[in-house]
């Protein structure tokens, strides 16, 4: 079995899988919220090693994918301005705006820089006092403390040429939105481990209770995911709905107190649009009053942006777990990582990209393939 051999502990993987196969008696649908977990699942074929009764639904947890199109277009417009150094994480370079991406803006002469950390952007502001340095502050709770520290330092140092274009999103309101959607099929959640490294687990018991769903905090590696699935299925089979921590080596119940204090100081909760999904109440953070002067949206007048999504892109449905990427007609034909129509085909955490990269590779003749029926293989075999 190709996949199991690739796990860092094949014996343990086999034992976890055997146990999941042994305890499951009814069909269950679990959602992994985080895109990093989606990639791990598809890369290692975990969905295909599970009993047929356990379905994994891929969630909206890819910050790159859910950054709204109008914010991407704002970023592109600011990045193209003379006198601006626009800094971003590398994942954003190829995310399609209405008619271009950051990669293109750079090609056209915009000063776009990729930074590893928001503090690198702050450094650029210090070294270029005559330029406006803008950092594209996207991400979930995992990334927010880093971005908060950057703007906190900027204010302390009086670096007035630094600002953030903020598009932060929070996981618990997304879980709430998914559970209250009329078409919801999700019966249990794998919660994102590194989000909880920062936030702890305090926000989840209320959700588990209210919607009667198990929520299992899970890591990203294949074994972590299998363990998370095992615990979730175990709870479901017994009719339980608790918060469980399957990733204790990196998640403490109280989270990271120093990071939480910084978040509290720099950000305030606001309603946010998620690309392809729509407005989710209280699902984001924006800069608090004390930091408003460092908000690029206020500093740069970027009015009059008209956005347009390609009509054939179904990323919204993919992000809500309503369809699998392969159900989109454009998948692998007009939409590939090279010519992405939606952000989910670009990001290293996007579900469309995961299906494209790994399912295609696994269908190569050399691979001792996973158990994919022939009909499905053809459908997944993209051109290009």
């Amino acid at each position: 079995m190709k996949y199991i051999d690739e796990f860092n502990d094949p014996d343990l993987a086999r034992r976890l899988l055997d146990e999941i196969h042994a305890i499951v008696t009814r069909p269950w649908a679990l959602m992994e919220v985080c895109g990093g977990q989606t990639h791990s699942i598809i890369r290692h074929g975990i969905d295909q090693l599970l009993p047929d009764k356990v379905e994994l639904i891929h969630g909206p947890g890819c910050p790159v994918c859910v950054t709204p199109l109008d914010v991407i277009d704002q970023a592109l417009e600011i990045a193209a301005r003379p006198g601006v150094i626009f800094c971003s994480f590398g994942d954003m370079l190829r995310v399609p705006g209405t008619d271009r991406d950051l990669f293109r803006v750079k090609g056209e002469g915009g000063d776009v820089r990729v930074v590893y950390s928001p503090l690198d952007a702050l450094d650029l502001a210090r070294k270029n006092p005559d330029r406006q340095v803008v950092f594209f502050a996207i991400g979930f709770e995992t990334t927010a403390p880093a971005n908060a520290m950057a703007v906190h330092q900027a204010r302390r140092l009086g670096l007035d040429n630094f600002s953030l274009l903020v598009s932060h999103v929070r996981v618990p309101p997304a879980i709430e939105a998914i559970m209250t959607a009329p078409e919801c099929r999700v019966q249990g959640f794998l919660a994102a481990g590194h989000v909880c490294s920062v936030m702890g687990t305090a926000e989840y018991p209320e959700l588990a209770d209210k919607h009667r769903v198990p929520i299992v905090v899970t890591g990203f590696e294949p074994l972590d995911i299998l363990e998370g699935i095992r615990l979730a299925v175990h709870q479901l089979e017994r009719g339980e709905h608790r918060v469980e921590n399957a990733y204790p080596r990196a998640v403490r119940e109280q989270g990271n107190p120093a990071a939480l204090r910084m978040l509290e100081e720099v950000f305030e909760v606001n309603d946010r649009n998620w690309r392809g999904i729509g407005r989710i109440p209280a699902s984001g953070w924006r800069l608090s009053d004390a930091y408003r002067a460092y908000d690029a949206e206020h500093r740069f007048d970027v009015a009059g942006i008209r956005t347009e999504e390609p009509a054939e892109c179904r990323a919204g449905e993919v992000l809500q777990g309503l369809i699998k990427p392969t159900e989109c007609e454009a998948f692998g034909t007009s939409c590939t990582p090279r010519t992405p129509l939606g952000a989910t085909m670009v990001s290293s955490e996007g579900a469309c990209a995961a299906y494209y990269l790994y399912r295609r590779m696994n269908n190569a003749p050399a691979a001792q393939g996973p158990r994919v029926p022939q009909s499905q293989q053809e459908e997944m075999n993209p051109v290009g």
Partner: protein, 96 residues
């Protein structure tokens, strides 16, 4: 980008503001902000996300994770040249 990579704290610059340390990610050395784990010590393992140490980790699981990340090419993805990666993607020669 949500990846958090385990690494070992090899030195701490107590005069740096914000508090900064050097982290060894299986041979790749990179600075990280330690402000969110202010009492971390040299020799401890931490998970680092976009240049910030977020939590401690025990050595055994840190090593196991690093090995896996290395094998899967995730370290290259995290620390490699994003422009090169984007250009490869654009030209269709992205191989993983």
């Amino acid at each position: 980008m949500c990846l958090a990579v385990p690494g070992k704290v090899v030195s701490i610059d107590h005069r740096a503001d914000p508090l900064t340390g050097m982290i060894d990610f299986g041979g790749v050395h990179k600075q990280a902000c330690l402000e969110y784990l202010p009492d971390v010590r040299v020799g401890e393992y931490v998970i680092v996300h976009v240049g910030f140490a977020l939590q401690r980790l025990d050595e055994a699981s840190a090593r196991a994770s690093l090995e896996l990340f290395e094998q899967l090419g995730l370290l290259e993805e995290e620390f490699g040249d994003a422009w090169e990666q984007a250009a490869r993607q654009e030209s269709g020669s992205e191989a993983r």
